[in-house]
Amino acid sequence: MNAVDTYITADGRTIGAPLMEMKNITLRFGGVTAIQDISFDIREGEVRAIIGPNGAGKSSMLNVINGFYHPQEGEVWFRGKKRLAMKPHQIAKQGIARTFQNIALFKGMSTLDNIMTGRLTHMKSGLFSQMAWWGGAQTEEVANRAIVEKVIDFLEIQAIRKTPVGRLPYGFQKRVELGRALAAEPKLLLLDEPMAGMNVEEKEDMSRFILDVNDEFGTTIALIEHDMGVVMDIADRVVVMDYGKKIGDGTPDEVRNNQDVIDAYLGVAHD
């Protein structure tokens, strides 16, 4: 691995060495190849977008990153170490959190409890301590509540703290889901279509939250998004996938002018 120079973006954020590297990943489901020989890296501190038409294998890629799928070929490197086969919950403990394309909140629980679940990887008290609500368990609960309250303040959802999430409107549910991922204080945050189904105003809010997370907490972000305007505005670098292959990789400007990408999105004349 060659040492990669860190650089500073135009808006003053430091982009560091690769946090996560995908090396020649191939993922097959039976005869279907969802991802074919894809390599890319996500550098520390950057906002990395993965784009591509429907069915390109973007969500599968996130599922590989957080251990839900195991690729048949290729290696995943995280923080300079090759990652062995791990279960998703072990990967969560390493500091990777995500949100889902279709909201995957815990419907029976309040907003507060949902976001508190994000702290589970940080909570260590044993069952008996919790039974008695004594010593470790209570201090831990209160300490983690304080962190969760910061997330709630950050996302401006104080008013719905005690509301069951099933009753919340869609935009708020998306926000609570982001909150749950943020509460884990991840090194790498994966966002699967964080702005799907939102109106312009909600998209602006969500973009602001994503940029603020990146800026204030220095969280590395990888996101999948279909809204090109948003992607081009907030991403530092973009990977473009089509039919399980990588057809472009680079800054938004480079990708925008890449002929393969234009062909994939706009179609190409067959002559």
């Binding site: 815990f106 919790q130 008695a132 368990a137």
Partner: protein, 358 residues
């Protein structure tokens, strides 16, 4: 006018997270406890103890246990009767093998043994869900009852195949056996109920409860947030079986005194406890009590009305009792599928604004 949050300011997260955040609830709870300890023991007679109070307390523990498993962790179990039998037989074996062992430890150890058995039968839950898991736990029910019937070691080779509880006492008062007086049995069970409900509440409001509920609501998201499904499900099975085992041990040792496994811990016990949990409200501690009260009190109440007040023959009344209880269950589930706990919650929300709802 009393039931208000307004003006009841919380200045710390610990205060905000307490079990009864509303002062009125808190006082109600303390009053109930005081009433249960200071008044009830002195007015109890044999009939009330045996027909209502003891079964209510014991089944409340079982319902708490099953509610942890079904209501909080979302794993359906039809094996409760079998697990109660494990608790009962464990307590019997412990009492006869170690005559000097304190009855409290006997009951707790029985719960522990049941927890181990429960974890064992909970293993399939890692692969199967929903109805299929229910059927797998049904196998546990039938297997356990068969086991206690067919292996004489469990009932100490007694000719009748029954087990009967020898007399054990606590602080000089007989708790089990023929000499136990109603007030002692009552207080003994009440102590268990109090501690176990308190522990259940603490477990379910903390990190463990969130793990269980996360698995219940969306297991994939739970795993990605860092919940180990294996551990979460097996702790739920373990804790739930611990509760049910203790209920089984108390039912046998304190309430029944003597038991035969097929009769006392058959499949109908599994269903009875399941009904309590569903009618009371899944995922609610209060619901476990409400459900147990409903299923225990309703038949007694109906019997008293029909036989005592209206003078019907006992057999007719007992048939009608099934019809009415069954009908009530259906009506309840249609009117409020989330059980008595939800009705209580709605009532409280109304009460918060009463008498000026606008």
């Amino acid at each position: 006018m009393l039931y208000r949050e307004a003006g009841d300011y919380k200045t710390s997260y610990a205060k905000d997270q307490q079990t009864f955040p509303i002062a009125f609830d808190r006082y109600g709870y303390f009053l109930t406890i005081a009433f249960a300890v200071l008044v009830v023991p002195f007015v109890l007679n044999d009939y009330w103890t045996n027909a209502v109070v003891l079964p209510f307390l014991i089944y409340a523990i079982a319902a708490l246990g099953l509610n942890i498993l079904i209501g909080y962790c979302g794993q359906v179990s039809l094996g409760s009767g079998g697990f109660m039998a494990v608790g009962a037989y464990a307590s019997y074996k412990l009492m006869t093998a170690f005559p000097d062992l304190n009855i409290v430890f006997v009951i707790l150890l029985s719960g522990g043994i049941t927890a181990l058995v429960g974890i064992l039968f909970g293993l399939p839950s890692l692969r199967i869900k929903g109805f299929y898991l229910a059927v797998a736990t049904l196998a546990a029910q039938f297997f356990l009852v068969w086991l206690f019937n067919k292996v004489p070691w469990f009932y100490n080779y007694s000719a009748s195949g029954q087990i009967s509880a020898p007399e054990r006492s606590l602080f000089g008062f007989a708790v089990t056996g023929a000499n136990a007086n109603p007030a002692t049995s009552y207080l003994f069970c009440l102590g268990f109920v109090f501690v176990m409900a308190w522990a259940a509440r603490n477990m379910t409001r903390g990190a463990n409860g969130r793990k269980w509920m996360a698995i219940r609501d969306m297991d994939i998201a739970a795993e990605i947030i860092g919940v180990d499904p294996l551990k979460a499900k097996l702790t739920a099975f373990g804790v739930s079986s611990f509760y049910i085992g203790i209920a089984g041990a108390l039912l046998f040792a304190v309430y029944l005194g003597a038991a035969e496994v097929g009769e006392a811990f058959g499949i109908e016990k599994s269903f009875l406890i399941l009904f309590m949990v569903i009618i009371g409200g899944l995922g609610s501690i209060f619901g476990s009590f409400a459900g147990a009260a409903f299923m225990i009190l309703m038949p007694v109440l109906l019997k008293n009305i029909m036989v005592g007040q209206m003078g019907w023959p006992t057999d007719l009344a007992s048939h009608f009792q099934f019809v009415i209880v069954g009908g009530l269950i259906i009506i309840f589930l249609i009117v409020e599928p989330h059980g008595l706990a939800q009705l209580w919650r709605l009532a409280k929300e109304k009460l918060r604004l009463w008498p000026f709802p606008h």
